[in-house]
């Protein structure tokens, strides 16, 4: 109760200074004081009410841009003038990549390379992989500045540590940041999907809708303390606190399928029945589903992500499921943005990409037979040359 009161006190001033943002969709003080009996624990220290409110508003906003090309669409665009960067081609684009060490980044990286291949005016594309290390990315960014790049794309490994490196590059070359942000507004544009709050809320609201009142919810998180994952959980917490569901456990899986399966199995035994599963990422959703199958129980409503293995399981086992996404098509946008900037065309200061949710109604359009199990359906890569083979699929 004490924690709830402290949170309410914290949340009030936060809400007070967001008057220029869209109207809050949740009453913050009320949710914080209700959380005590819901089993969701204290609110994450990464939770920022203003960001949450902005993302909730963007979920229902109409994106502008060409139909059927979500990677070129944008929400709430505030255009910036780029006339000072205008120059004639051919262009040399450079890219400092945080890592290619997981399937999401693999799919994205292949998509970006294919996007570059579409543009004849890009004659040179230099990319350096930081292998998940901040120090390597800092030196990569410095190195790229000496290579005569016309524009620099950065996908930062971590937010705070990479900020000085990006600030240092801004005066020399137009910088485009995507995926994770940096704590400076010097890049010409920052490209991202709506964000983690929207992801977490979409999954939690689905469960609130599908699970009967009083149902037991198990929340599975990968690990604590990572900003992009904390936002997903904190938005889900807000939704669960407002609902009449009971969160019986919030556990960390380390992203390990075997551990996920064990944890879910333990909860099934302990509570006899689990009525809904919330996950902060989809990679282990199939393992969670299997835990119910192996225990001989019907699979309750669950969320995954847009990975093929989950979508396939969803269809085969006729699950009650939903899959919020963090679309890999965002890897196309930085290349498009770089070329617009170099041609002196306007780009949004913050390029908010639409973030669709896979539902029962549109599942068939996202399910791509022949693609590998860890492929992400929202790659926006189907029209790119080399699809599906380049992404590991069979045509």
């Amino acid at each position: 109760m004490l924690a709830g009161a402290v949170l309410a006190a914290l949340a009030l001033p936060l809400a007070a200074c967001t008057t220029d943002k869209p109207a809050p969709s949740a009453a913050p003080a009320a949710t914080a004081s209700e959380s005590a009996g819901k089993g969701t624990g204290d609110q994450s220290k990464f939770f920022v009410q203003a960001d949450y409110d902005a993302q909730m508003a963007m979920r229902t906003a109409q994106p502008t841009g060409p139909e059927g090309k979500p990677w070129e669409q944008t929400i709430n665009a505030e255009p910036v003038d780029t006339a000072k960067y205008k120059k004639s081609g051919p262009y040399h684009l450079c890219f400092s990549n945080a890592a290619v060490d997981n399937p999401w980044r693999q799919v994205g990286w292949k998509t970006m390379q294919a996007e570059v291949g579409l543009h004849k005016e890009v004659t040179k594309f230099t990319a350096l992989d930081a292998e998940g290390k901040d120090d390597k990315q800092i030196s990569d960014i410095a190195e790229l500045q000496g290579k005569g790049c016309d524009a620099l794309i950065v996908s930062p490994n971590t937010t705070a540590t990479l900020t000085p490196a990006v600030s240092g590059a801004c005066p020399k070359v137009p910088v485009i940041v995507f995926d994770r942000g940096v704590q400076t507004d010097c890049p010409v544009t920052f490209i991202k999907p709506i964000g983690g709050y929207a992801f977490g809320a979409a999954a939690a609201e689905f469960l609130v809708d599908k699970v009967p009142a009083g149902g037991k919810i198990l929340a599975l998180r990968i690990l604590p303390g990572v900003d992009v994952l904390e936002t997903r959980w904190s938005a889900a917490k807000v939704a669960f606190d407002k609902s009449d569901l009971k969160v019986v456990g919030v556990d960390f899986t380390d992203g390990d399928a075997a551990k996920t399966k064990s944890i879910v199995g333990d909860y099934i035994q302990r509570f006899g029945k689990i009525d809904g599963v919330w996950m902060d990422a989809g990679a282990n959703a199939v393992a969670a589903v299997e835990a119910f199958e192996d225990a001989g129980q019907p699979v309750p409503p669950i969320n995954g992500e847009d990975q093929q293995d989950f979508l396939q399981k969803w269809q085969e086992a006729k699950l009650t499921a939903v899959a919020p996404t963090y679309p890999t098509y965002q890897w196309r946008t930085p290349v498009i943005a770089a070329l617009r900037i170099l041609k002196g065309e306007e780009v949004p200061k913050v390029w908010n990409l639409p973030q669709p949710t896979v539902t029962q109604e549109n599942l068939a359009t996202y399910l791509k037979p022949g693609m590998p199990p860890l492929h992400y359906a929202l790659c926006g890569c189907e029209d790119l040359p080399g699809y599906p083979e380049k992404w590991g699929g069979r045509s």
């Binding site: 290619v100 060490d101 997981n102 399937p103 980044r105 693999q106 799919v107 690990l223 604590p224 556990d251 960390f252 899986t253 380390d254 992203g255 390990d256 399928a257 075997a258 551990k259 996920t260 399966k261 064990s262 944890i263 199995g265 333990d266 035994q269 302990r270 199939v286 393992a287 299997e290 192996d294 293995d309 590998p372 199990p373 860890l374 492929h375 590991g392």
Partner: protein, 309 residues
């Protein structure tokens, strides 16, 4: 067996502690689920015991497990017909990697710490190169059955574990087992008394490779394809073995105690999880166990030698 007693006391204590936090734990389905979860690590620890008691290390088992699962998924690609040939291939591949480890260590005289560390890097690099970070293909339901299914209420993995444990105990009681311990205790003395030390050690590496293959089959079956499936398993196996009181440097300890060490480690992780302590603490706990076990061994070793003399 007497030496194995302390670890069984620790294991029993941990199981009681888990039961206090979660009374359902002592019910048969729950206990069987625990055995099922622990089986791959226990089998890996048994394999690692052979290498450690012979005075060497095998750091390559974790990435060998990953490589085997990823290879199996790619080759099987969901086809039932490919299941048995691929299973046979995995069972051959494990000892083959062990043979390379053993030969490089004994013939080329590269310390096993370096040999198997290099093998770890080679295997994980090769897997990454081959898959591009995202494994392809899928394991067939028949392959998954070994790690997922069971004979009635008893999981296959528990039965496989039982068979592996019986085989390990039998081998350690055979002439080979005695020669292995002799080679680990004092390889020169063993060689002078007619033990072919290089051959004995190489076979130990092959046993470790075989245990990794079996663990890969069970882990892949349990949870499916993942490029992280074997991550950190080598240190879990080594921690389990030293936790069982087996001396790093070789020559002392029993395979039963090593396997009990693996159960203990798994029970410890379960307990930490029950109390909501983050998985991030697991490597730290392992580190403390290894240092403590080695330090204790160093303190007590001279006394034992004096007693023997």
């Amino acid at each position: 067996m007497k030496r194995a007693l302390p670890i069984f006391v620790v294991l029993a204590g941990l199981l009681v502690a888990i039961a206090v936090a979660n009374p359902y734990f002592l019910e048969p389905p729950s206990l069987l689920a625990f055995v099922k979860r622990a089986a791959p690590l226990v089998i890996l620890a048994a394999g690692q015991y052979f290498v450690i008691v012979s005075g060497e290390f095998d750091l390559s088992v974790g990435s060998l497990v990953t490589a085997e699962v990823v290879i199996a998924a790619r080759l099987i690609d969901g086809s039932a017909a490919a299941t048995w040939p691929v299973l046979a291939l995995l069972i051959v591949l494990g000892p083959l990697v062990g043979l390379v480890n053993g030969t490089v260590t004994t013939v080329l005289r590269v310390p096993s710490f370096i040999t198997t560390l290099a093998m770890l890097l080679i295997l994980s690099g090769a897997v990454f190169l081959w898959t591009g970070g995202a494994p392809r293909g899928a394991l067939s339901p028949q392959f998954r059955e070994l790690g997922r299914g069971g004979l009635g209420p008893v999981p296959w993995s528990a039965l496989i574990l039982l068979a592996a444990a019986a085989a390990a105990i039998w081998v350690m009681r055979s002439g080979y087992g005695h020669r292995l311990i002799a080679a680990g205790d004092n390889d020169r003395a063993a060689a002078l008394s007619g033990v072919h030390v290089a051959r004995v050690r190489t076979v130990a590496f092959m046993v470790s490779g075989l245990s990794a293959a079996i663990a890969a089959i069970l882990l892949g079956g349990f949870a499916g394809v993942s490029a992280q499936v074997g991550q950190g398993l080598e240190f879990q196996a080594i921690t389990a073995v030293v936790l069982g009181g087996v001396a790093l440097g070789g020559g002392r300890g029993s395979v039963v105690a090593a396997m009990a060490g693996a159960f203990t480690l798994e029970a410890l992780f379960t307990l930490l999880n029950l109390y909501g302590i983050s998985g991030a603490l697991e490597p730290a706990v392992q580190g403390v166990i290894i240092i403590a076990a080695v330090a204790l061994g160093a303190v007590s070793l001279p006394r034992r030698k004096a007693a023997a003399a």
